[in-house]
Each structure stands twice: as C-alpha cells, then as structure tokens.
C-alpha cells in the first residue's frame, strides 16, 4: 500500500496486546495454582505452555499478512471448515461422550474452535457481499444458512455447548451489519422459543402437582413428544394465527400478510426445534437447568458446583487468600477448577482486586476490538471485529455470570484464562486477525 492513499499499516495495537498479555499472565498463574493438586499437573502445564507457544505463532500469523486474503479465500476457508468437521466425525477422538477431538502426538485439538473462527471469516464475507440488501429477509436467512451446516455437524458430535458461541457471533454480526431489526426480532423469537420451551418443560416437570390440576398444562407437557399432541399444537398455532388475521381484517385493521405468515412460521418452527432441543438435552444438562431454576433443591447435586464457586469467590474477600492458598480450590470443593470455573479460583486466591482486574482487562480488550471495528478500512474487517467482539463479550459475560450464579451452568470457557489449549490458540489467532484489521486501518488525517 502506498502511504499517500489514506491507509497506513504496520502499526500494532500494543494496548490490545498488553491487555491480552495481562489476561494470559493472570490465567497462567491461576492454572499453575488450580491444577497443582491434580495428579497430571505437569502434563497440564506442558500442554498449556505448548498451546500458548502455538497461539503466539498463530497470533503473528493472523497479524502478518493482509487480512483481505481471508475474504478472497472465504469459500475455500468455508469448505475446509466443513471438511474438518466431517473429518472429526469420522476419525475424531471421543472425550466425555463427545466425538470432538483430533489427536496429535502430544496433544488433542478441538476443531470446533477453529470452525468458529473460520465460519466467522466466511460469514463476514457473505454479509459484506450482501451489504446493500441488508434490510431484506434473505440477509438474515442467508447468514443462518451459512452457519447452520457447521452447527449441525457440531451437534452431531454431539457437543451442545460447543454451538453456543455461534449464536452471539451470528446475532452480533447481523446486528452490526445492518440487518432489519424486525428480522432480528423474529430470529430472536425463534431462538427464545427453542431455548425457553425446554426450560419451561423442565421447570414444570419439577412441579407435578401443578400439571395434575390443569388440563391446559397437562396438554402442554404432552407436546414434548413428536406425536398427535404435537401435531394438534402445530395446527392450533396455524389456525390461531389465521383466525386472528381474519378477525383483524373484519375489524378493518390494516394488516400485513407477510408479518402474519412470519409470525406463524416462527411459532411453528420454534415449537418444532424446542421439542428437538428438549430431546437432545442430556441428563446433566437438564440438571443444570434445574439447579439454576431451584438452587436450594439439592445442594449436593447439580447446584453444588455453582454454590461452591460462589463460596470460593465470596471467601476471597478484597485481597484474596493468596495464590496457592485457596482452600476451596485446593481441597477439591470447587469443581472444574482449572477450566470452566477458573474465575472462581481467581476470586478466591486473588480476591476482589483479582476479579476486577480480569473484568477490567476484558472490558479494555473489548474496547480495543470495538475500536478496531470502528477504524477498519472496509466492511469486511468491520464485520470480523464485530463478530469477535460479540464472541468475547459472550464468553466473558456467560462464564463470569455462571461463576456468580447469575446464569445457568453452560460449559463455556473464559478465553485467555481457562485451561484449554485449542481455545487459547484459536482465540489468539482470531485476535491476530483483529490486530491485522487495526494495523491496516483507515487513517484520518
């Protein structure tokens, strides 16, 4: 690039790098401490620092050459992601019932992490190309069409929580890309139905006395199966919407036919996928729902983890108990202490100062990503940064919220902090691309 063209390059956002370094440093200390009582401690440390090394290389790789090559090669990237996800289903390694790993001589790699970034790059290309028609429904449906095959492949592993980060990424990119708010609401409504119905069914099944008293609730519970009741419910939804349409027409309201068709479609589709999700939920996942809905129900069961995490965080106080001195984590009261619940270890050992530092570094990092999006030279770079910002925000809010008992337990890591090589390396790679967008930014003179 010529320097007089209004673009500059070669600038690295050192503030962003600093924030990442800070998070990784705190995370590494927390892993050193949290994993130390474990029998495979040295193996964990080896893998962590190996992943960190690979991650730094990937970061430099992501930063190194013009990111626009990712847009040019979007179809290739998408194709590789699909092939990789099919490959993992064929030759993958099974851990904890999920066929989601590819084994290498010294470590295992989780392809769904790379698939997330690959999908983000391909999706950004799709949305950029359709930028002029972002107000159309095809913009939203098309974007969903891009993501859906990947989600389906991940669900086949089956890895329910692995699909979760795709949704904020998709929604964030659509929103920032300029999709119609109405379309987003429709999609949000569908997603809400999909998740809320299983939640509602789970909650109601905890209260058999309510169901017994009510024919309506009893019928609602029966919809859970793909049988006659489900079909009846589907027919009732369609007929109800049609009836309402007729009624409003008779009352001479100015009604829009597409809106009604959309509403009926969303209700029906939401119902169908809600039942689907309900069937796919595993026992432990349903228990997490229960634990979140009724925390006191079984303090030794699924709610136990969340409670112990809060005890760990709360007992840390202002200054913490000191690294390597957290009793909750070291004595085994805190579950998943070096992975999903590592924030609780930080809370216990480094106190309010530690947790607020992590929170502040994360917000600073997010601000740098948002800033990169703002100054991006093109919409593709802007969309990539938006996708990354939404993903990171989702990870942080859900993981920390889970440790604090504000959201249900969903196996979501805290990037840069949690132990997990694939996530660390791939997140560093994605941040490299964000840095790339920043370094090739539009310069204001």
């Amino acid at each position: 690039m010529k320097s007089d063209s209004g673009f500059i390059r070669g600038r690295i956002d050192w503030a962003m790098v600093g924030a990442m370094a800070g998070l990784i440093a705190i995370g590494s200390v927390a892993i050193l401490s949290a994993a130390s009582p474990l029998p495979y401690y040295s193996s964990i440390l080896q893998k962590h620092f190996l992943a960190l090394g690979i991650g730094v290389l990937l970061f430099v790789f992501g930063l190194g050459f013009n990111y626009q090559i990712f847009q040019d090669q979007a179809k290739t990237i998408y194709g590789l992601v699909v092939i990789m996800m099919i490959a993992v289903l064929l030759i993958g390694d099974t851990q904890r019932g999920t066929k989601g790993w590819i084994r290498f001589p010294f470590f295992s790699f989780q392809p769904s992490e790379l698939a997330r970034v690959g999908t983000m790059l391909a999706l950004a290309n799709f949305l950029d190309r359709r930028g002029k028609t972002s107000h159309r429904v095809g913009y939203v449906l098309g974007a969903f069409g891009v993501v859906f095959p990947i989600l389906a492949l991940i669900l086949m592993e089956p890895d329910f929580s692995g699909t979760l980060p795709f949704f904020p990424m998709l929604l964030g990119m659509l929103f920032c890309g300029g999709a119609s708010i109405g379309h987003l609401i429709a999609m949000g409504g569908y997603a809400t139905l999909t998740l809320a119905l299983p939640l509602l069914w789970t909650m109601l099944s905890l209260r058999p006395e309510w169901i017994a008293d009510s024919i309506l609730l009893n019928g609602f519970m029966k919809i859970r199966q793909f049988d006659a009741e489900f079909m009846i419910a589907l027919a009732v939804v369609v007929a109800g919407v049609w009836g309402l349409y007729k009624l409003l027409q008779m009352l001479r309201f100015n009604v829009q036919v597409p809106a009604f068709l959309a509403a009926a479609g969303i209700l029906a589709a939401g119902l169908a996928s809600g039942v689907l999700v309900d069937h796919q939920l595993k026992g432990y996942q349903r228990n997490r729902f229960v634990a979140f809905l009724v925390p006191g129900a079984d303090p030794r069961g699924a709610a136990y983890n969340v409670q112990q995490a809060q005890v760990a965080i709360g007992s840390g106080g202002l200054w913490g108990k000191g690294v390597f001195s957290g009793t909750q984590s070291r004595l085994g009261f805190l579950p998943e202490r070096h992975t999903d619940f590592i924030y609780a270890v930080i809370g216990e050992e480094m106190g309010f100062i530690g947790t607020m530092s992590v929170l502040a570094l994360y917000m600073f990092l997010l601000w740098r990503i948002v800033n990169a999006a703002r100054v991006a030279r093109d919409r593709y770079g802007y969309l990539v940064c938006c996708g990354m910002a939404a993903t990171m925000a989702f990870y942080m809010l859900i993981n920390v919220g889970m440790c604090l008992g504000l959201v249900p337990v969903a196996g979501v890591p805290l990037p840069f902090i949690s132990y997990g090589g694939s996530n660390l390396a791939i997140t560093l790679f994605a941040m490299g691309i964000v840095g790339n967008v920043y370094s090739r930014r539009y310069a204001f003179y």
Binding site: R300, Q310, V311, T327, F333, F352, T355, V370, L406
Partner: protein
Amino acid sequence: MAHWDRGLQDRLNLLWIACYAGAVLLGVRLLHVQVIRNVYYARVAESNRTQIIHQSAPRGKILDRRGAVIATSQPAFSLIYLPGETRDATRLVGLAKSLSEELHQDDEEILERLKEAHEEEAAIHLAENIPLDAMFKLSELKTIYPGVELIVEARRLYPDGAFAGHLLGYMGRMDKRSWKSLKSRGYRVDSWIGQAGLEQKFERRLRGIDGEIRMEVDAQGHLKRKIGETPWKPGANLHLTIDWNIQKALEAGLRDSPSRMGGAVVLDPRDGAILAIVSAPDYDPNLFLLPDWKKPKDLLKNLPEFNRAIQGTYPPGSTFKMLVGAAVFNSGKAAPSETVFCPGYFTLGRRTFKCWKKKGHGRMDWMRGITQSCDVYFYTMGLRAKGSLIEQYSRQFGFGRKTGIGLSGESSGNIFGPQARALRKRSWYEGDTVNLSIGQGELLVTPIQMAVYVAALANRGTLWRPYVVSKVSYPNGSEERPEGPHSMGRVDLSSGTWDLIQAGMRSVVTSGTGHRVDIPGIEVYGKTGTSQNPHGEDHAWFVAYAGRNGESPTVAVSVLVQNGGHGSTAAGPVARRVIEAAFAVREDL
C-alpha cells in the same frame, strides 16, 4: 473516503453499551459477593475445610485418704468418621459392611450413623476404647476408606476393678432427651456422663473441658493437616475419706461371708468421715467403658446396682438393744442392777415371746443381759421404758430419716413406735413394744444409719453426718471442700448411762456373743444382731467401734450380711477383718 456505511457504527456502539452494562452488573455482583458478603462466604469456606475432632478430656482422679488412685483416666483409641463431600452411597454401604465385621455391630445401624454424620456434616465416634488386636485391622480400613480415623482420647479407668464400685458409680451414655438439656454445657451426643454414685454427684467437678483438634479435610474427607488445637482441661480431683486398706478388707470380708450379700459402712466416730462403704454383690464399673461389642449383653439387666449400704433396709435386731438400755436407764425407769429371770420365754397376756436361747438364761442384770443378748431381759426393760420413749430415742439416734450422705437413692428406713402408728391411724399394743425392744417389728434401718448410731455410741452422743469427700482439688491449684464434718444432732445421756452402754458393748466382745471380734491390743466394743426374716434366712448384723488400748475409739463399724444367719458367725468375722485392717494388726488383709 470510506467504502462502507459508517452509520452502521451506531449499532456497534449499542452493542458496546450492552456489554458495558453487563460488565457493570457483574462488577456489582462481585462487590456484593466478595466485599459485602465476604464474612459469610469466608465462614462457609472455613467450615467446608475444617473438621473439628473432639477429644474427651481426662476426668478428674478419685483418690483415697492417702492418695491411692481409685479412679483415673488413661489414653485409649477411638475410631471416628469424618464425612467428606462424596455422596457415593455404595461406598458407605461397603464401609458399613467392613466396619460391622470389625466392630461386631449391625451394618444397617452403622450405615444409619454414617448417613447421619453426612447429614450433620460432623465427625462421629464409631467405636471407643478399642483394644489393641482390633486396632490393627481397623487401621487398615483407614487406608481404604477416607474419613475413617483413629484418635487418642482420655478414657475412664478404675484400676482396682470393682473396688468401691457402688460408691464410685459408673459412666454411661445420655439418652437423647437429657442430652438436649445438657447440650449448652458442652456435652456432645456421644459424651460420657456420670450415671451413679460419686461420678454422678460430682459430675460437674470431675468433668474436664474437652479438647478440640481442628483438622483440614479435603472434599473426599481425607485429613490433610492440623490447623489448630484447643487442648483439653482435665477435671478436678476428688479426695475421699475412704481408707484403701479398710475398704479392701470390708469388701473381702463380705465376699467371704456365707451369703456374699450385704451392706457395710465404716465411719470415723470423731467426725463422720466414711472410711469404707460396701455393698455386695458389687460390679466392675470398667465394664461400662468397654466397646459396645465387648460389653456383656445383659450387663444392665443383671447389674447389682442396688446399694445395700444406703438403700437396703432391715430390722436392726439385737443391735438395737443398746438404745433400749439408754432409754430405760437414762430415764430412771429401771436400774442396771435390777435382775430379770429368763426361763427362755416371756408371757404377755395370752401371747408368748421366745428368747433366742430356748433353755433360758436364768437371772439377768444389764451387763449379763447385753452380754448374752437375752431377749427376755430386754422385753421386760422395753415394757418398763414404754414404746413411746423407745421411739423417741430411736428418732434421736437418727433412725427413720436419711443420714444425708448425698448419694442418690438413700433410704430413710422405717421408724416403729406409738407415734408412727398414730400417724397411720392404727393403735399401738404392748406386744409391739415387746417386739420393738429387740429391734424387730416394723422397725427398719439401713447399714449407714446403724454406722451413725454406733459412732454416736462411741463418741457419747454426737450424730455426725457421714461424708466421703474431704476435698476437691482443681488443676489450677485451688481447693474446695463441698463436704465436711457436720453434726446432725446430739443425744444427751448422763455419763453414767454412757458408761453402762459402753461397758456392756465391751463385755459383749470380751465374754459374750461378739467374742469372735476380740482382738488383742485393741479395745473393741460391739454387739451382734440376728434379725428375724420371715422370707428366708435371718439377717446377720454386727456393729462395733474400736480404738487402741487406752485411746478413744477411731473406727465405727456396721456390718449387715443379708440372709447371713447368725450375727456372731456371719457378720462378726467381717467386722473383725475390718478392725484388724484399720489398726494394721494383720498384714495379709
């Protein structure tokens, strides 16, 4: 210059604001959990990792008057269980099965207690006072099952077994109801508590303050390390007035008596201090402290808990005759030189009362009457004194009311006389006076009342309340005297009357029915008694006091051998043994 619509950035800003709001929410929650509620969560975390193991403190020693140890404490191993966080039911079932083999208890019962421990999240005692052979097997279990631990605790020990068993009482468990009221005083549900005797009466002083070891445990219940410790504080020592030698002799004497059953008390007639107190048959209080599976099954059912020395009531028989003499001579209703002819029986109206000697004693005055224990002589003297006067004297000598020794269950006996009859709205007849004159009828006394009576005869009138604790010494050096010499009253008789009675008792020993207790070098004064028992063999009595030649008496003895037969043959040798021990006449006790 831009190729793309920068108006989209409004949406990005909106997204950023949403994230920011979410982060603020998290920050507020962190502030709440970590700073505001820190104290609460810190306490939860602390109780998560800490298990408190209580260690029973050594109970205070019980010592005899010369410092010989009667009850002490020794270290013993206890098996405890610390519940971890695991909820694995099959593991608990396995542990219960293994434990039931070693502890010989029902595995269902053990499982129930293990579950209780998990529910209460507190350590429990599974077994105490574990013998060495079981220890090794149990310590193997410790390596298989986390949470099973062996700890050292102080355990009650009675080194001489049954020695003074009835006086000491025993240790036992509390029932759930009494535990609730004692909880605030530091008792735990598995604490031991004094259940009878001195262990019960001085529970508060003997009991120390239990120690606490605070251990760090992990989520599985493995003990990691000691965090802290509050050492136990031992209880106060009880110094008794009991004389080990005399107590031993008295126990041996009763054990060798014909029926091996009875009660006996030895007092110091100068102040009422109990030198020995025995009830036979006795029991070994150590048995209660055995681990449950080694305890005899019918221990409590067949326990000879009844303390005959203070709870058993018997007619005093001829030992009552000194009181009749005191009444008739001190009131001047008869003179000691007056004689009565004994043909072997006595007629009152149409009723005939026999003397114990069928052939009769012939002509009897006071000295001969008491020496031979002639019933006819005392029938006559009793009628002369009249029933009401004898009743008055027996009240003065403390019969019919508790001596106040302060051990639970003491009996007051039963006073017999016109006044007592009148209270029950029944009439008194002369025949009753005849019976009363020889200590029969409805008159019932306890061995300890008899000891107080004979001590009063020895010291010429003072009724000392018997006491057994000379002092309580606390670990910090301070001392307390909860009991001590206390006069319950005086019997005022002329010194002439005292001389008569004492001379009579001396004569009983030197030339009468009590000749078996005549010990060279010791002035023994005594009286036999054989109280008729319509339900079986007669009860044998011997009461005595003694001092070294030319010195005032220092020992007062009352021995009852239940269904022992004749006083001189059954109870006399016991008294002799005691007096010999008291004056160290015989070495071989």
